[in-house]
């Protein structure tokens, strides 16, 4: 076998790769180590291979160049990505906690009458409190203490109004992060659309809705004592259905909108481009309908 050892090593340079990778078994390792000092070509293969690894490390770990152009834009610091990824990971955990609480709660109350409408806001508020506390803001003090508004024929709508009235702080305040909520709801989220009424985006969060997720975008409009709050729920209408029972048609331009009001809050529901929108606000139904109609208008800057 020794007579073919040299021949085999020279012909099969994958053994040299495995040698550099530290993956050879003892016998083969000895064979290669015996061969190398006698063979210029194999020595050079090893050296070239080492040099290539150094180059590859520089390429993969160094600044990002797209398309192979040398001297292209340097990779920006990864701190922003780190912060974004961490927030997304913690939010994922918060959602898991919500699911856990929902599951336990459903098991506990089994046949009792505590509905989704009280449960989920409390559960999501609790999860948010954890997330908030984890971020160093301290836990929320009034979890579970707020009133729930009912009265709409559609329970889900009443739930959304309850969310609107809850004043739970948003998870994300950067519009870029709010747009990224589309990954949870499965439809595009365009917070800027609704700023055209003069409303200012405060932030957004993911809302668990009957085993699905909606994005909740929170805005304020006006200032001082005249300031009003506005929430836009963005959802996939195939997964989350609002029956529209008890709502009245209220077309704005070409947009088909249904409106209703209860306890001083108004709601406006519409669909556009396969996306469902529900607006809940402190404003009157006309204004809520106007906001909902904006979903129907193209936006140039996004």
């Amino acid at each position: 076998m020794t007579s073919v050892a040299r021949d085999r090593s020279c012909r099969d340079s994958r053994l040299l790769g495995a040698y550099l990778d530290g993956e050879l078994d003892g016998a083969t390792l000895l064979e290669i180590e015996g061969h190398l000092p006698t063979c210029d070509v194999c020595q050079e293969r090893v050296e070239l291979d080492k040099s290539m690894r150094g180059t590859l490390k520089n390429i993969v770990r160094g600044p990002m160049h797209v398309g192979g152009s040398v001297g292209g834009a340097a990779r920006p610091g990864l701190d922003a990505l780190r912060a974004r990824a961490k927030a997304a990971m913690l939010a994922e955990q918060a959602r898991a906690d919500v699911r856990a609480i929902e599951g336990q709660e459903q098991a506990n109350v089994a046949s009792r009458l505590l509905g989704w409408r009280t449960m989920v806001p409390i559960a999501s508020a609790a999860a948010l409190a954890l997330l908030w506390g984890g971020l160093g803001h301290g836990p929320l003090s009034d979890v579970g203490a707020r009133p729930v508004h009912a009265g709409f024929a559609d329970d889900l709508l009443a739930d959304l109004v309850a969310e609107h009235s809850s004043h739970v702080p948003p998870q994300w305040t950067d519009p870029k992060d709010v747009r990224a909520l589309d990954q949870y709801v499965g439809v595009p989220v365009r917070p800027a659309s609704f700023e055209r009424t003069g409303a200012r985006l405060i932030g957004g969060r993911v809302l668990p809705v009957r085993q699905q997720h909606a994005a909740m975008l929170e805005y304020v409009i006006g200032s001082g004592a005249g300031q009003r709050r506005l929430s836009v729920f963005v959802y996939d209408p195939h997964k989350i259905q609002i029956s529209g029972a008890g709502l009245a048609p209220h077309p704005v331009g070409t947009a088909q909108i249904q409106v209703g009001s209860e306890n001083g809050y108004s709601v406006a529901v519409t669909q556009h481009g396969g996306v469902g929108y529900a607006v809940a606000s402190d404003l009157d139904t006309d204004r809520s309908a106007e906001v909902a109609a904006l979903a129907d208008e193209p936006l140039g800057d996004e």
Binding site: D12, R14, K57
Partner: protein
């Protein structure tokens, strides 16, 4: 609601654990991003890919066995996410296993040429060399590229790579070997066209004045399928 309260308490205890898992996973984020950039060739998509993978890891973290290799586990999720998201059809199966119709000859250049390719005197040419290797790396079939990066850059073992790429170790070795050869060929071809090295007789005896490049290799492979 005492039960709800106890769940919240339990979750709070869990939160510290959650945070430490996130922190530990994030220590591998830079490496994941580097690999994601080469896979997607787009920094924005790479960021999305890394974030998606980390969120999936968080969701599945109870499946991770503490004490085993977190980095390899994260790279497996990254790889799967990439395949699922960007390459619905999976990796380039047509370029995969099976006997190579026209195996890249091992003895393709002499010792002196190889020495020139890594010669310290050529250090001034380093950016050009890097640019060329980067182009060649980007052009590699995905499964060759991934094997080479996981081994040569991230220094995973063959066993770990086999686990990450869900293939036998023999396949890992084959992908590594062929990927590295293609990179070296591209570098040599470039050096030849730049006049850094001269065309020469190979050890095997064939003229390499027109060395096989990657596109010719792929064209041959496609033609052979």
């Amino acid at each position: 609601m005492p039960m709800l309260r106890s769940t919240v308490e339990a979750s709070k205890e869990n939160a510290k654990d959650t945070d430490s898992f996130a922190e530990e996973a994030l220590t591998y984020m830079d490496a994941m991003y580097g690999v994601a950039c080469r896979l997607t060739r787009n920094p924005t998509e790479a960021e999305d890919l890394v974030q998606d993978a980390l969120v999936k890891a968080m969701r599945a973290r109870h499946q991770f066995l503490v004490g085993t290799n977190l980095k390899a586990w994260l790279f497996r999720i990254l790889t799967n996410t990439f395949i699922n998201k960007y390459r619905r059809g999976g990796l380039e199966k047509t370029l995969l296993e099976g006997p190579d119709a026209d195996p890249l000859a091992d003895g393709w250049v002499s010792a002196s040429t190889m020495r020139q390719l890594r010669d310290p005197e050529q250090i001034a040419l380093l950016p050009i060399v890097e640019g060329e290797v980067r182009r060649a790396l980007d052009a590699l079939p995905q499964e060759f590229k991934l094997a080479v990066i996981l081994c040569d850059v991230e220094e995973f073992s063959y066993e770990e790579i086999a686990d990450i790429m869900a293939c036998p170790i023999g396949t890992v070795m084959s992908r590594l070997h062929r990927g590295r050869k293609l990179l070296q060929k591209a570098l040599y071809s470039h050096a030849l066209s730049m006049g850094i090295v001269k065309g020469e007789e190979t050890v095997g005896g064939e003229r390499t004045s027109a060395p096989a490049d990657l596109s010719a290799y792929r064209a041959r492979k496609r033609g052979a399928v």
